[in-house]
């Protein structure tokens, strides 16, 4: 029972990180119909920048803020320079651009930092805690991870549901032409959407890197899990990203815990295949338009 509890708690913590990655993918897909294959690599770059800030003597939280701010700017610039020119062309163009950008960024990181494995500190202890005499594998850092992603989700929810800016951003995502005809300037909002999505990815990377290690391709696997979560939850649903992330995290934790860690990537693939067979649009995807 304790083993089951421990892998469940571990699955929740990793599921929340996967949810943050999936949220970044969903934010971009909703706004621009582009699957950003470079999401993980962009988050890797912001993590290296945070690492450089840390190594100049700054404290953890300053590096954390620098990574998020860099993600915001990096995402915005990427949208303007790389995505805007292919925005209204064939979807294949955007896929090739983001995939090429992934390879480029990993190459640049490798050239600057090398392929040496580096460690990144956690702001809180990563050791499990005793709860009522029972040792549980849920550390203060895991609590931070869960709270950080919940705060991110709440901020996004308030932004999109409670502010005029969010209302505009949703309108642009759902119907750019209708938004323009209502006097909404579409381009800056698409740029902001990319900025927010990459900032969300940057946060996910900062949450995974202390328990992983910093290398130019450390986000590759987590991006696959994030993509799995986004497909399971629905590529256009932020709620789906959260639920899909948790479902993915828990599924992988159980597979890893009971069948062996080497089967986790296979389990992610199986989850995508089963999800596509049962509900191809995802659990929380928008219902198709209904004519009355």
């Amino acid at each position: 029972m304790q083993f089951f509890l421990n892998i469940t708690l571990g699955g929740i913590a990793s599921g929340m990180i996967v949810a943050a990655v999936a949220l970044g993918l969903v934010l971009i897909f909703r706004a621009t119909n582009v699957v950003n294959f470079a999401q993980g690599a962009m988050a890797m770059i912001t993590t290296y920048i945070a690492y450089s800030v840390l190594h100049r003597g700054a404290d953890y939280w300053l590096a954390f803020i620098v990574a998020l701010a860099t993600g915001l700017v990096f995402g915005a610039i990427t949208q303007v320079v790389l995505i805007r020119p292919v925005q209204n062309k064939s979807p294949l163009n955007a896929i090739i651009v983001t995939f090429g950008f992934l390879i480029f960024l990993e190459g640049v990181a490798g050239a600057i930092y090398g392929s040496t494995t580096r460690t990144y500190p956690a702001p809180f202890s990563e050791a499990g805690q005793k709860l009522g005499g029972t040792q549980i594998a849920f550390s203060p850092f895991d609590v931070f991870v869960v709270l950080a992603v919940l705060v991110l989700m709440i901020v996004m929810l308030v932004l999109f549901r409670g502010t005029d800016l969010g209302l505009r951003m949703r309108a642009v995502a759902f119907s750019p032409e209708a938004a323009r005809l209502l006097g909404i300037r579409v381009r800056p909002l698409l740029t902001l959407g990319w900025g927010l999505a990459v900032a969300a990815g940057a946060m996910a990377a900062l949450l995974i890197v202390p328990t992983s290690s910093l290398t130019p391709n450390f986000m590759d696997v987590i991006l696959i899990y994030g993509f799995t979560a986004a497909v399971v939850g629905g590529l256009d649903s932020p709620v789906g990203a959260l639920v899909g992330g948790l479902a993915t995290g828990l599924s992988l934790a159980y597979v890893g815990g009971y069948l062996g860690g080497s089967l986790e990537p296979m389990a992610a693939l199986a989850l995508v295949v089963v999800s596509l067979m049962i509900r191809p649009e995802g659990i929380f995807a928008r219902p198709p338009p209904r004519r009355v």
Partner: protein, 237 residues
Amino acid sequence: MPVLDIEDLSVSYGAVHALTDVSFSAAEGEVTAVLGANGAGKTTLLRAISGLVHPRKGTIRYDGQQLEKMSVEKIVRHGVSHVTEGRSVIEEMTVEENLRLGSLWRFGRRERGAVIDEIYELFPPLAERRRQHANTLSGGERQMLSIGRALVARPKVLLLDEPSLGLAPIVTARLMAVLRDLTSASKLIVVLVEQNARSSLSIAQRAVVINLGRVVVFDAAATVASDTELRHHYLGY
């Protein structure tokens, strides 16, 4: 008196000439009906006025400004609202959110409630469904929402593309009555594109008949309605 003045407007899609040397004007407090068969260029005309397509040549003037050089967003902020064909509501949003969107650029937070309430008075079924998603509305309610969303910003020029398409005759009649009253009361310039020539001529003061991208007739609506040969030839009744 401000007039929407269109002069020698030509629009092409590649090698296809959708509009050629179209000229007419629409006056304040009047409905100008744009009539013609499918593919005549009526929708392209409205899309050119609202900036969604760029003309090859010609001018679109309103209130001292040349609209054909402006972006869509600027044209909207200059007082031109365009209700596109097909009840272009945002289906994933509620009725209230759709209306709020229409008011965002024009009004501050405090004024918005009052202007949205005016739309609910104009179209009472929308008030009952304010919290419902737009994809749950009937065709007539969606059309009311499209028009209400355009009106909430209190435009000076309203471009309407086939508002009666697919609606029951009783709903169409009600919409047309609202449009007629609104136009005269608020000094709107309404450019109404319709296949249903009979119903649009019944509320219009002027009419433009377009055939294969060219203006055939621009005259008083009553004159067009009484010209049997013209009606038979171009309007199908």
